[in-house]
Symmetry: C2
Subunit: 388 residues, 2 copies
Amino acid sequence: MLGNFTFANPTKLYFGDDSLQYLNDELPKYGKTVQLIYGGGSIKKNGIYDAVVAILKANGKTIVEDSGVMPNPTTEKLKEGIEIARKHNVDLLLAVGGGSCCDYAKAVSVSVHCNEDPWEKYFIRFEEPSCKILPVGCVLTMVGTGSEMNGGSVITNHEKHLKIGHVFGEEVMPKFAILNPKFTFTLPHKQMVAGIYDIFNHICEQYFSGTDDNTSDYLAEGLMRSVVHSSLIAVENPQDYEARSNIMWCATWALNTLIAKGKTTDWMVHMLGQAVGAYTDATHGMTLAAVSLPYYRHIMPYGLAKFKRFAVNVWGVSAEGKTDEQIANEGLAKLEAWMKKIGLTLKISELGATPEMIEGIADATLILKGGYKVLERPEIVQILRESL
Amino acid sequence: MLGNFTFANPTKLYFGDDSLQYLNDELPKYGKTVQLIYGGGSIKKNGIYDAVVAILKANGKTIVEDSGVMPNPTTEKLKEGIEIARKHNVDLLLAVGGGSCCDYAKAVSVSVHCNEDPWEKYFIRFEEPSCKILPVGCVLTMVGTGSEMNGGSVITNHEKHLKIGHVFGEEVMPKFAILNPKFTFTLPHKQMVAGIYDIFNHICEQYFSGTDDNTSDYLAEGLMRSVVHSSLIAVENPQDYEARSNIMWCATWALNTLIAKGKTTDWMVHMLGQAVGAYTDATHGMTLAAVSLPYYRHIMPYGLAKFKRFAVNVWGVSAEGKTDEQIANEGLAKLEAWMKKIGLTLKISELGATPEMIEGIADATLILKGGYKVLERPEIVQILRESL
């Protein structure tokens, strides 16, 4: 049942192919110095960097560069970002990129005015910010994480082989996000489909929990169907604006807390995938894809009714004359066929994982309790071996 | 396609059977004087009034009473509310009731510091507020309008025989809303099902427009299925907490702008129903129910693909071996069966409309252009006759 919860999401979203201009509406709300956060420089090639800088300058802002945010932002990079913000007394953190840039910006935002070690405080002790939080804005160029409209931030500690996410509250959510589907057109195919599976799996992580009738599950089914539908168009024609815009919009609503309301939520695919990522540095969405099917086939008997519903409501499997197991298995077979069709990697060995890494990956896999089965360590090892 | 739009909804929602206590978290954010807005006094019978007043007093607030908000709040009542707020220099408008109380509170909020006639400014000229806006909070006791999380406000001018709604922006949306499904348990059956159909029709009004693939439509289908599912449980057992909570949650998301993104939206059922209401003073949801089937059967040929999709995705109609018309008609037959089952009125004659009123109701029906067919006057008359 829906139970007791709070929903609050103050992020203002500007969506569409003319959305960047709204930066002009947002910038006057903040002080003079803007920390411009981005990744490896692809935004310099596709013109987005120049367009953003022009708007910042037109609004009289002082730009402080903070580039080189990596796909899995590290504690070292976080330290660098905090120093930049402190040195220049930054007023606004503007992330131009994908989920990594947004995640990183949020981690910087809660750390600049905090005297403790942010890794220990937020990612080990999971404390809430007790200091002034810098405002964050996002210009999204990659789709998948939903970081543009939530309080989530995932940081990687290479030294400790740990990649940990903290979901902060509404005060850490971006103040605004600019979502232009055209900014995602130039993304390489692999990154596009990895993002698509990230979205789909965010929905699954919330959907595959609980046994009751819940509006969140109905909304989740709608989002899944929309993602699947548009993904098949987008892989054929990455420049299909309609498909790319639906995918972008689904990504935002897949992980802004709406469809988690009343749900315990699972997140074990993410725990497994992130552990694989910590060992291989592979693309996040691909790690999720590669562990998903062995995981879902493993937990299916414990959540059979939901897997049956998934088959019928998301994949249109006919239930007639079949056992629940048959229906549920057909649903997972349809999921697998779709994953193959859009070009996802279904083996962690193809992402750089070796049999020798399995025990270490299993050690790095956090066990959560919201799904249909609380995994034991041998089950994790088994799922990882089946994913090889 | 989704196109260009902004999404911003800062309302903080506290949901669940313990949600009233969160008034203690919200009240300290505002000044000392609270205008307590409510309707005919049912909240005094069911204990909600006492509970709210106790929390207000515990927080040291001065309470200014503003009761007697009627189902269709009038310009006279609005004037009264503005005077109360001005006289007592009110800091917060707290609406305890259904959509009418929330709508009214929003109208007061934009008028207290405005020197112009609010009816003329907001409901005739549709201007935006240019003055200080008083904050609004809601404690919801009826479900349907979605007013708790949107900027909508409908005011009736009896002198001019007009009932007009203005959808204000995010700054007018309630700062917070408290949604306790148990507060809706004591609602009479007729009001409960009228509210349920109001929710369902809000979704239809947005769903039945456009021809493209849009995430909004997938979300709308999810909401419709959830409403139908929970309504069948609620009519059997109005005290089923799970069903009532899902209905309450669907109502909020049916009309907080989310599922309208990228849609032209129709709203002709509301125009027809409101015109019937102006002549009969019948319950809003019942007027919508009574005109819906003749209207949808009339426009079906112009939006056949969507009506087919509605049949399959919302009602589970099998498409096998049938023409599109057959599938679409089966969907509307399922809608009709559901409406009868939950006890909706399907004839405007049962709501007090007579054949002699038809021309007048047709005159009072505003023609909108977002749906599948822009109606001509003879079509309106025909639909109204078929609704008799």
